[in-house]
């Protein structure tokens, strides 16, 4: 059974055909990068897996999206449960205007956990996983808005990890950050791989090369090529993929 799978998925925003028959299989504990020009469906595809597209009016989805073999769009699925198992990190860091501690604890609290020792331990664990603990351990009660952009994004990662999802969806997590923060986050992703299955949308091709095991190239809503990152970056099958990667895109 594959960890994440989509079978011939089509998505329409009203009459606009945004995703055209995407079939991808993703195995556990791998990092998959989705690359392609702007507006080609990568983020839309990513958002299928925690059903964030449901928040937009007028969206129609065909085909199947499966996690752990189960169709996540079936009626029996509880959306809140799904989102506990599938975490998301957004492009623009969006920590809540609360304390650092409360930001990470938020996910636990909304899921009904009240035991304070448990919450404290989990907060520390998540911050360590996000490589942020050492920098904030003495100022957990300070506002999250006082952190730098890179720290805020790592805080958002800690927040997503706090509820122990098994899948992590990352939508251009480093695009709003400076190079050093970006490098830190890339290293983080590389390390998180052993415990999570990660799908990451990125505009930065070198980033895809650095962090991912598999890469999918999207163009105008279609999946042009999906293969190991090594293959895509050394000898892609499709000319369009090669043109995009070498920067010779029209």
């Amino acid at each position: 059974m594959h960890k994440i799978e989509s079978k011939d998925v089509h998505l329409y925003y009203g009459s606009f055909h945004a995703l055209k028959g995407i079939s991808i299989v993703i195995e556990k504990n791998t990092v998959t990068a989705l690359i392609g020009p702007s507006g080609c469906g990568k983020s839309t595809y990513l958002r299928l897996f925690n059903r964030m597209n449901d928040l937009i009016d007028n969206v129609k989805i065909e085909g199947q999206c499966l996690i752990d073999g189960k169709n996540i769009y079936s009626r029996e699925i509880n959306i809140e449960d799904l989102r506990k198992r599938v975490g998301m990190v957004f492009q623009k860091p969006n920590p809540f205007p609360k304390t650092i501690f409360e930001n990470v604890a938020y996910g636990l609290r909304v899921n009904g956990i009240t035991h304070s020792t448990f919450i404290e331990e989990r907060v520390e664990r998540s911050l360590r996983q996000a490589a942020l603990w050492e920098e904030v351990k003495d100022k957990l009660k300070k506002s999250a808005m006082e952190l730098s952009g890179g720290q805020q994004q790592r805080l958002c990662i800690a927040r997503a990890l706090s509820i122990e999802p098994s899948v992590l969806l990352m939508d251009e997590p480093a695009s709003a950050l400076d190079p050093i923060s970006t490098a830190k986050i890339e290293e983080l992703i590389y390390e998180l791989k052993s415990e999570y299955t990660i799908m990451i949308v990125t505009h930065n091709m070198q980033q895809a090369g650095r962090v991912s095991d598999y890469t999918g190239f999207f163009y105008l809503g279609e999946l042009i090529e999906f293969d190991t990152t090594k293959k895509i970056f050394t000898n892609p099958t499709d000319t369009r993929t090669q043109n995009y990667i070498t920067g010779r895109f029209g």
Binding site: A183, E186, Q206, G209, R210, T229, K230, F233, T234
Partner: protein, 231 residues
């Protein structure tokens, strides 16, 4: 350690293994030749496949590192040097294989007299010594050790030149042993080339550690330590 560091470390370990492989080939060939052990010679020839396979793997690893991890500066120089050293080592492996083929084809022992006058065994030992030197220089990033190789190689060149005379004389005295003599001469040429390959490896090591290009320079220029300028 970043992803890149892990890959570079892995590459270095694999390179050292390639060095080791090739060194063993050379040592086995020397033993095969001096004791005319045909079984040992066959071992060397079988192992040659492993050497070739390993070369291909190392090439692919270097390609992947460059394509995926964008190394720059010393990291990039390291990967480029590794690519070239890999190719040099493969050729040394070929040479060992070639000499082993001779051992299989010789019908009689090599004349001890010939062995002595041509200093063949000494040559073997110097060549293997030089290979060990560059292996250590690569491992320890020791550019002084790498530079010492240039001088040592001169001895090999010397033996190579002298060998012509020695063998010619032997043929004049023993013209029923021409095949043997030719094989011996061939082996000497091959060993001289081992020295050349090791010199190239030394140049690559100095390139990646010091960013100094020593290709096509004179001996004295090569021996210059960083910071000096003789002429």
């Amino acid at each position: 350690m970043t992803h890149l560091d892990i890959e570079l470390k892995s590459l270095k370990t694999d390179m050292l293994e390639m060095f080791s492989l090739v060194k063993n080939q050379l040592e086995k060939t020397k033993d095969a030749l001096t004791s005319l052990d045909k079984d040992l010679a066959r071992e060397v020839m079988v192992n040659e496949k492993r050497v070739n396979g390993f070369e291909l793997k190392l090439d692919r690893d270097c390609e992947n590192i460059i394509a995926l991890l964008n190394p720059v500066a010393v990291d990039l120089r390291f990967v480029l040097a590794a690519l070239k050293i890999n190719s040099n080592l493969e050729r040394v492996g070929d040479i060992a294989d070639g000499i082993a083929k001779f051992v299989l084809n010789i019908k009689l022992d090599v004349e001890p007299q010939l062995l002595q006058t041509t200093r063949l065994v000494e040559m073997f030992e110097i060549a293997i010594g030089i290979l060990k030197d560059v292996m250590e220089a690569f491992d320890k990033e020791d550019t002084a050790l790498a530079r010492s190789v240039f001088k040592k190689d001169e001895v090999l060149d010397e033996i190579n030149v002298d060998a012509n005379t020695a063998v010619a004389e032997f043929i004049r005295a023993n013209n029923d042993r021409i095949n043997q003599s030719l094989y011996t001469l061939s082996t000497i040429r091959k060993l001289e080339r081992v020295g050349d390959q090791c010199k190239n490896i030394a140049e690559e090591i100095i390139f990646y550690v010091e960013a100094k290009v020593l290709k096509h320079k004179s001996l004295s220029q090569k021996e210059e330590l960083p910071g000096e300028t003789k002429n």
